[in-house]
């Protein structure tokens, strides 16, 4: 029967030697694998639960289909498939031979590698070898010619590099070594086969067509030559194959294993549901190599540098210093050195990865989507961003935005009360889910609530819902931003706080069945991330609802639009949640002709606003991803509308359309605006008549009441002599502590104010310098507010509270001073109600060591001197070296507490400092800012009191996690309800609105106003422009 002999021409010595070498090679291979596994094991546990069965099946499917490899690069995909499947067949072939030769035959005398099986086997293996050969040659051709794809170029053009860096040269070498090694093994194998054919000319030779062909090449060689070459080539081929195996774990070839591992362990939700940091972790993010998980490290090794992510990344395309490929490769290089431990000689952030690289990401998921080996780039970026946030390595604009979200729950820094202000012009009332049940809860999101253009769309959507009789409600001011961007920026604690808040509001609300949102970012977070924090109703995107309403006939198309449109898939709706069809169906239903951009659906190119980039300034010298996208759309001209279904997209693309110069060519519109036109929404009467009349009546009543009260006030004041009697009924008599209003002629006497007497509280023993920083919780007043009934106050609901900006500057100065001294403590003290505990915690989170809160209900409208008395009592107990405090408060702006406090304590003082340097010695050097920007430099003996002006420094950011952790730090409460605690230097008689003459308002659109302004300029300054 047909078969062939193995180990041709080898004596038993040779065979033994080969086996020994073979075992040694396998040993070396296993050692290399063990080393890599050891490295992965040093990583943190993966924060995502591993489902090995599903993961394995998913990986097997990915490998078998080669789908991800073929996507967007058919040539590479096909060539890889040839090599992969060919090699797999060859590997299987070798295994089949080994099974017979080394196991079944010696042990049981069973043989099967013969006859028909042998012939079929030989043919298969020959073809497999041929496929590998073809694949490798194709890959070499692709890599080696001038037409090599740009994504394979390792030069970092986005960083301005024109030369390859040394590591990149090594990458090129390993790429070629890998290909050449395969080529050599295959060619030497076929050569060996050919030599066998030339010498033995088997009758079944046709079953090894390639071998037979190679045999022809040797047809004219002598037996001697053949014999000699065959012996040498046998060893060459065998040793090459063994060397290939030994080297597998050490270079590019390791992706064979790492990629399969990474694919099997891939988190299917990766970016759409970011993994929460392990609660026991000491840091929030990844600031060191050992902070990465084993999956992260496996990902580093899995990368084949195929460049698909590099090509897809909007940041890299726009000229930002981020290429997901290079990000992973840099981490791999570092981890090759660190081996899962920390880098000995450089920092991970700053040393290996530049912070700017991390901030460049838009969290669009394009890299993750296209990566054929399951690498989760954005997850690692966010992990590292968490560390940047923790280290306060933030763009100032971003820092402000995060602070604003922390204070008022939205990124616009608007009062929470204004969240539903956009509903005012609707003409009908929108239910408040906290009071009335509804079928649908509309979670609006920030842009759709506060951005003027977003509000237009929100109103259109609300009217469409109304026209379709959708029973919907809002959370009104109960809604805070969902936190998608906060989380992707790396402010995990803030995200958690937002999720808990919103879930709490929804849990307390009246019943609803589903949640709808127009914002894909909100959609993603509610749908994928909130379930980890608590139960949540099903979430849909408004395009899905619009589609249902149009298909069910609840909305009727009156006028098909007949527009030629293109559609941009929002990253968070499309790529991250695979919802591609509803908006397209809507466009078809309203009669639009959709022309797709070349990059659509999972390949849609990000607008550049995601991942918190909306809150960061553009880097000079870069392009805007949104402009690149608009240009892509402009290739489709003539075009009527660029359709979006995301509030951020609308803002970004409307801008980009103008800046890219396509203002005359097409418009950018939200899909809801098109739907509104198609159903002729304007012609549908939506008025909520009873509601509206009620509102008008209420408004009129209020107006009448206020006018009457004012007139009544004046009339009474004119006719009645004593103000105390003239006070309208219901106004309480002045507080008893003040005593009756005194007539002039109280005996003139200086009655020096003294520090308050407060109950004793614990003060720890001194340990180095001590700086006391009084901090105030200040209220920012929104646009709509009203006074309390006695007109002496404003209810708390109209305020957004935060740490006084000036005090924040003073705190920063104190912290820096103590840090520079290398020891000591910063003690923060606040006179305020329990809610002021929040700003003390914020101060503690920033680094203050202890907090003291002093309060009594009678202090509600305390004046600066009253506050100074209480602070003085605290200072007398604390005996600080320095008191740093804000030059003024943002709400009352007296700029007086510091001077009063210094006097009460008899301390030298300097006010409104823009610099305060203390080296721990006898004097502190201060620069005071005077009118006109003149600086007055003085020196004060310590102890002293300095008040700080804003701009003296940039206060650091406290993450929500740090604020939570600060709960561990001690805060002492001191009850100020003692008899003499309240002092009043003034009494609020009443509050009023400034009776200012208001500017004459210029009406009309921007162009009309601009024309009017130019006319005024010409009138005043002459015809100079």
């Amino acid at each position: 029967m047909e078969t062939r002999a193995l180990f041709w021409g080898l004596e038993s010595f040779g065979i033994t030697a080969f086996y020994l070498i073979g075992f040694a090679a396998i040993g070396a291979f296993l050692w290399g694998v063990a080393r890599a596994v050891g490295k992965y094991r040093r990583g943190r546990p993966s924060p995502v639960k591993l489902d090995l069965r599903t993961g394995f099946l998913r990986m097997a499917a990915a490998v078998a289909s080669h789908r991800a490899l073929r996507r967007r690069d058919q040539v590479a995909g096909a060539a890889h498939a040839l090599v992969f499947f060919g090699f797999a067949a060859l590997f299987l072939g070798t295994a089949i031979i080994t099974l017979e030769y080394d196991i079944l035959e010696p042990l049981f005398g069973v043989t099967y590698w013969k006859g028909m099986f042998f012939k079929a086997f030989s043919l298969t293996v020959d073809i497999a070898g041929l496929l590998v050969l073809a694949g490798v040659l194709l890959l070499m051709l692709r890599r080696g010619t001038a037409h090599s794809p740009e994504k394979l170029d390792y030069r970092r053009a986005y960083l301005g590099e024109t030369e390859l860096r040394p590591a990149a040269r090594r990458w090129q070498v390993e790429d070629w070594v890998f290909l050449v090694a395969i080529l050599v093994i295959i060619v030497s194998g076929f050569t060996q086969e050919g030599l066998r054919h030339a010498m033995e000319r088997p009758a079944w030779g046709g079953w090894e067509p390639v071998g037979a062909f190679f045999g022809l090449l040797f047809a004219n060689s002598s037996e001697e030559t053949l014999r000699a070459v065959r012996a040498v080539n046998w060893w060459f081929h065998g040793l090459a194959a063994l060397a290939f195996i030994v080297a597998l774990p050490w270079y590019k070839a390791k992706h064979i294993f790492a990629a399969m591992g990474a694919l099997a362990a891939r988190d299917p939700l990766a970016l759409s549901r970011l993994p929460a940091p392990a609660p026991e972790a000491e840091t929030a993010g990844a600031g060191r190599m050992s902070d990465f998980s084993w999956k992260d490290m496996l990902d580093f090794d899995a990368c084949t540098k195929c460049g698909r992510c590099h090509e897809a990344c909007p940041a890299r395309t726009a000229g930002y210093p981020l290429s997901p490929r290079d990000f992973i490769l840099d981490l791999r290089l570092a981890n090759d050195m660190a081996q899962g431990r920390d880098l000995p000689d450089k920092a991970l952030i700053g040393g290996v990865i530049d912070p700017e690289t991390l901030w460049s990401c838009r969290a669009c998921g394009a890299c993750l989507e296209i990566c054929p080996v399951g690498i989760e780039h954005p997850v690692k970026i966010v992990k590292m961003r968490r560390q940047l946030v923790e280290n306060d390595c933030l763009d100032p604009l971003l820092r402000n935005t995060l602070s604003a979200i922390g204070a008022s729950g939205n990124s616009f820094g608007e009062p929470a009360r204004k969240r539903a202000a956009w509903t005012k012009d609707l003409g009908f009332t929108v239910k408040d889910i906290r009071r009335q049940a509804a079928d649908l809860l509309w979670f609006v999101g920030d842009q759709a609530s506060f951005d003027p253009r977003g509000q237009q769309v929100s109103r259109a959507v609300a009217r469409i819902f109304k026209a379709a009789r959708v029973d919907f409600a809002l959370l009104h001011e109960g809604e805070k931003t969902a936190g998608n961007d906060a989380r992707r920026v790396g402010e995990e604690g803030l995200f958690e706080a937002l999720a808990e808040h919103n879930l709490g509001e929804m849990a307390r609300a009246k019943s609803f069945q589903r949640i709808v949102t127009t914002d894909p970012h909100t959609f993603n977070t509610l749908h994928n991330e909130y379930p980890e924090f608590g139960a949540i109703a099903p979430v849909i995107h408004y395009t899905e609802l619009l589609c249902d309403l149009l298909e069910s006939g609840a909305l009727k198309v009156k006028k098909p639009l007949r527009l030629k449109v293109t559609f941009h898939d929002p990253c968070h709706l499309g790529r991250l949640n695979k919802r591609y069809d509803a908006p397209r169906r809507v466009l078809a239903l309203i009669g639009c002709e959709l022309v797709e951009m070349p990059r659509n659906r999972d390949n849609a190119f990000c607008c550049g606003a995601g991942g918190g980039r909306m809150w960061m300034p553009d880097k000079p010298g870069t392009q805007k991803p949104s402009e690149l996208r608009i240009r892509e759309a402009a290739e489709l001209l003539p075009l009527d509308v660029f359709v979006t279904c995301c509030p951020k997209d609308l803002i970004m693309f409307e801008d980009a359309r103008k800046t890219a110069g396509f203002e005359k060519d097409f418009v950018v519109e939200d899909i809801a605006e098109l739907v509104a036109r198609a159903i002729e929404l304007d012609a549908i009467a939506l008025q909520d008549l009873p509601g509206l009349t009620e509102r008008i009546a209420a408004a009129v009543a209020q107006r009448v009441a206020s006018v009457v009260v004012e007139r009544l006030d004046k009339a009474l004041a004119g006719h009645l002599p004593a103000p105390a009697i003239a006070a309208p009924a219901g106004t309480p008599a002045p507080a008893a502590v003040i005593g009756a209003p005194a007539a002039s002629g109280v005996e003139w006497q200086a009655r020096p104010v003294t520090p308050a007497r407060l109950p004793a509280f614990d003060t720890p023993a001194r340990n180095g310098a001590r700086i006391l920083v009084p901090v105030k919780r200040v209220g920012a007043l929104g646009d709509d507010f009203s006074f309390t009934d006695d007109r002496r106050g404003i209810p708390a609901e109209f305020f957004e509270y935060q740490l006084n900006e000036w005090d924040d500057t003073a705190l920063e100065q104190a912290l820096r001073t103590v840090e520079a001294l290398g020891g000591g403590e910063v003690v923060v003290v606040s006179v305020g109600p329990a809610e002021a505990g929040e700003i003390l915690r914020k101060a503690l989170a920033k680094g203050a060591h202890r907090g003291i809160r002093v309060w009594d209900a009678g202090l509600e409208d305390a004046d600066p001197i009253a506050i100074a008395r209480l602070l003085a009592a605290v200072a007398l107990r604390e005996k600080p070296d320095l008191i740093f405090m804000g030059g003024q408060s943002g709400d009352q702006a007296n700029a007086a507490t510091g001077a009063a406090l210094a006097r009460l304590l008899d301390l030298p003082r300097a006010t409104l400092a823009v610099a305060a340097d203390w080296d721990g010695g006898e004097f502190i050097r201060v620069k005071r800012e005077l009118e006109g920007g003149l600086l007055h430099e003085v020196e004060l003996p310590v102890p002293a009191l300095v008040t700080l002006q804003t701009g003296a420094n940039t206060p650091r950011y406290a993450t929500m996690r740090m604020i939570k952790q600060a709960r561990e730090k001690p805060v002492v409460f001191v009850d100020a309800s003692g008899e003499d605690a309240i002092w009043r230097a003034a009494r609020i008689e009443r509050l009023s609105l400034p009776q200012a003459e208001r500017a004459a308002m210029l009406e009309g659109g921007p162009d009309e106003v601009a024309a009017r302004v130019i006319a005024i300029i010409r009138e005043k300054m002459g015809e100079t422009i």
């Binding site: 003139w748 009118e931 006109g932 400034p994």
Partner: protein, 321 residues
């Protein structure tokens, strides 16, 4: 005893305008409160300012000569307290300035007086002095009175009251101070001029000023270009200078420059904090563009427009090419 005491201030040989405005403020109350109007001036060169302070309505000028050539908060505090104990005024007016703010509240503590800061409205009622000040960024007026206080210390907002013109007939009285307790507690080291610049807000006739509303440093060049095209000097509000987006000489306001010769002021994205208004509210024609329709800037502007500053800038750019 009764009457009003105003406290003059001076820096590097120049009497502050605010000191003369205090006289104007005092005169609005002098008649109803009764008693003389006195002015106090302190320092090594105190008598240099006597003639300037001798305005109509001033009855007596107290001159507290000291040996410190530069401002010292503690010395000024001591002088005001000594003067107050000597003349027992019903009302003490101090400028709401960097200097005044550093000792006014301390005086109030020493006297146990009534106190309010940054006052812009004064009234004499049967019950005594009433004062009006602003709060919450100027959105609310707070009307205060001072029951049971024989004396009230107020700091008065600048550029609010009009200084009387002319020469008065004040007598001059030296005031001796006991300064042993306060001397040397604050050592003067020197002045540092605001950085020199080719920008002169004080001389500019047409200023285009930008505020927090421009959102981002990267937008500054755009408005700078706009200002240049319009022939305007580029000004800014404090937050813009604090953030380092524009150098300090561009800053209009209390700690910046006063737009002293300005005829036309275009405020873009400026909400109009008190400290900014100080530098520009006197300008004849003010045009304010801001998204917030309730911004305090509209209270001082001649023309206003509640509009996105970028939309406005777009339109303006289109018109002037």
């Amino acid at each position: 005893m009764s009457g009003i005491l105003i406290v003059a201030e001076h820096t590097r040989g120049a009497l502050a305008d605010l000191s003369l405005e205090l006289i104007g403020a005092a005169l609005t109350l002098k008649e109803s409160l009764g008693g003389p109007l006195r002015a106090l001036v302190t320092g090594e060169t105190a008598e240099d300012f006597v003639s300037a302070l001798n305005r109509p309505g001033v009855d007596e000028i107290l001159v507290a000569k000291t040996d410190n050539p530069h401002f010292d908060a503690a010395v000024n505090e001591e002088a005001v307290v000594s003067a107050a104990l000597a003349v027992r005024p019903a009302l003490i007016l101090i400028g709401h300035s960097a200097s005044g703010g550093s000792f006014a509240a301390a005086v109030a503590v020493r006297l146990g007086s009534g106190f309010a800061a940054d006052v812009f409205g004064l009234e004499a009622a049967a019950s005594g002095v009433k004062a009006t000040r602003g709060a919450y960024g100027g959105k609310v007026n707070v009307e205060l009175d001072f029951p049971d206080k024989p004396v009230v210390v107020l700091t008065v907002r600048g550029a609010t009251f009009k200084a009387p013109e002319g020469v008065g007939g004040a007598t001059v009285t030296p005031l001796a101070l006991a300064l042993d307790g306060v001397k040397g507690r604050c050592r003067h080291r020197g002045f540092e001029e605001a950085p020199a610049s080719n920008i002169d807000i004080g001389k500019a006739e047409f200023i285009l000023s930008i505020g927090r509303g421009i959102q981002d440093e990267k937008n500054v060049p755009r408005f700078a270009a706009l200002a240049e095209k319009l022939g305007a000097t580029l000004g800014c509000s404090r937050p813009v200078a604090d953030s380092g987006w524009l150098p300090k000489p561009h800053q209009v306001g209390l700690t910046g420059k006063v737009a002293g010769n300005c005829k036309l002021y275009l405020a873009l994205g400026i909400s109009g904090a008190v400290q900014h208004q100080h530098g520009m509210k006197h300008v004849e024609t003010i045009i304010a563009v801001n998204t917030d329709a309730n911004a305090p800037i509209y209270a001082v502007a001649t023309h206003g427009c509640a509009m996105d500053v970028f939309a406005f800038a777009d339109a303006l750019e289109r018109r002037i090419g």
